[in-house]
Amino acid sequence: MARELLKGNEAMAEAAIRAGLEAYFGYPITPQTELLEWMSKRMPELGRPFLQAESEVAAINMVYGAACTGKRVMSSSSSPGVSLMMEGLSYIAGTELPAVLINVMRGGPGLGNIAPSQGDYNQMVRGGGHGDYHAIVLAPASVQEAIDLVVLAFDLAEKYRSLTFVIADGNIGQMMEPAELPPMRPLKRTVPEWAVQGAIGRERRVLSSIYIEPEDEEVVNIRLLERWREIEANEVRFKEYFLEDAEIIVIGYGTAGRVAFSAVRTAREQGIPVGLLRPITVNPFPSGRIAELIPQARAFLVVEMSTGQMLEDVQRAVEGRVPVEFYGRLGGVVPYPDEILNEIIRVAEEPIELGVDPLDGWLKRLKAITN
């Protein structure tokens, strides 16, 4: 396959189709709409169902129903729409079904705006819906990575009967970059042993998230947790830049990660021993890799387009052994590389105390430059 110039949203849609997507259900919302639009054209061409539902609530429940049949199914939306889907997502998790959801995140809370944001980290990573469950969360930083991770999302979802989220943001969705799409996969022929497709000639199967007896629900919760621990052991993914001799370690994912990459590269040219760890799975989180880096680290610097949500995961991995500093822009504002470069220089030059809440200093510095 040759490299083509592809728009993030359209590339993610086509990648899903080529990964063998069998049905799509969604509802339009900026900055994700081109994804649904692409599906509306391509899925009928291929004789596969595309359905624009009456709302996100309906769309995710259609995904729930279709997933019960063992088909490859997905939806996509952006932050406010994803909030509406939370009940359905919890039901999908509780029924132990594979399903993929792409969230092209935007500024919030509330209606917010349509600019790129990472404010949904906690919602996507920590659950969002009710009850004890975990979802795999993949965070692309380029169009090519968005394609690759959408394909991976389906494989992981089915391997672990798990919800898998791809969290992009408005930048990834709207940008065009050269990228290579995978070849078209044939549709899956096998039916999973749990799927319901009509029970003629065999024993009845029931798929449900209702377990009236707490002891039965407890068994389900244990199974979900054990499956999650297997995912944690096997599916952590990240990318590293200049880490070999780095003493300052920047951590950022998605768009914030690639903006940080620009800053880290410039800082390296200035002779600062800094490197970047860019989580690709933000759930499971690369805590083990971070722990390995502690001995060489003078300090960590977490960069987000949110208020220090991933920061908590980094702090947990670092266990207070070296300082963890923070820089974030909020509400749909994307940082420029020079802002992060200034932070790298600050961390390189100023002594950073252990045990100080990094949010205190960051808020002061942020308020000095905001409206």
Partner: protein, 189 residues
């Protein structure tokens, strides 16, 4: 090193396509490239802009504060971007719609009557190609031949009949810049 180019004007002036053409040509030349539009909740006649980053290595931030080159097709865009062009960078302004001079002296700049040149070719919608041609003369990040080949390879089928006119517009833009005796800003690889 990378070259960042912002193209900004009214919606409908072809700023997004001009940027995409650059991106296609850069891709075909084997470079890394990122094209990103401004995508606010715009209304018809509102502003539109895009950023194109062309590089020989992995591209980090898709947004740049101080671009190497800016093409402004209307006055609001000049007011916004004149101050942001990188020191020693390139600023090209559409003189047909802009009634003031460029004030910065530390950059390589050109006022070009892009609408008039486009109209002289028979189609005023070619102004984006005129501007692009002038830029390639002043900042040869890609050759005219590479751009023309990209146009041939990627022009939407419904516009193919306009291919020769588009190429002519690019050449007229470059020629105008040449006749004005513009400096050539080196592209750092």
């Amino acid at each position: 090193m990378q070259t960042e180019i912002i193209i900004s004007g009214f919606g409908g002036q072809g700023v997004l396509f001009a940027g995409q053409l650059l991106a296609y040509a850069a891709m075909d030349a084997g470079k890394d490239v990122t094209w990103i539009p401004s995508y606010g909740p715009e209304m018809r006649g509102g502003t539109a802009s895009c950023t194109v980053i062309i590089s020989d290595e992995e591209i980090g931030s898709p947004n740049v504060r101080n671009p190497k080159a800016v093409l402004v097709l209307n006055l609001p865009s000049l007011d916004k971007y004149e101050v942001l062009v990188a020191h020693g960078g390139v600023l090209i302004a559409n003189a047909s719609l802009i009634n003031r001079a460029i004030e910065r002296k530390d950059i390589n700049s050109l006022m070009i009557p892009a609408n008039e040149i486009a109209e002289s070719l028979g189609n005023r919608r070619l102004l984006n190609m005129v501007m692009l041609g002038a830029m390639l003369e002043m900042l040869p990040v890609l050759s005219l031949e590479q751009i023309e080949q990209a146009l041939d390879d990627h022009i939407p089928e419904r516009h193919r009949k306009l291919l020769d006119l588009n190429i002519s517009a690019i050449r007229h833009g470059a020629e105008f810049a040449r006749k004005e005796g513009v400096e050539i800003t080196e592209v750092v690889e």
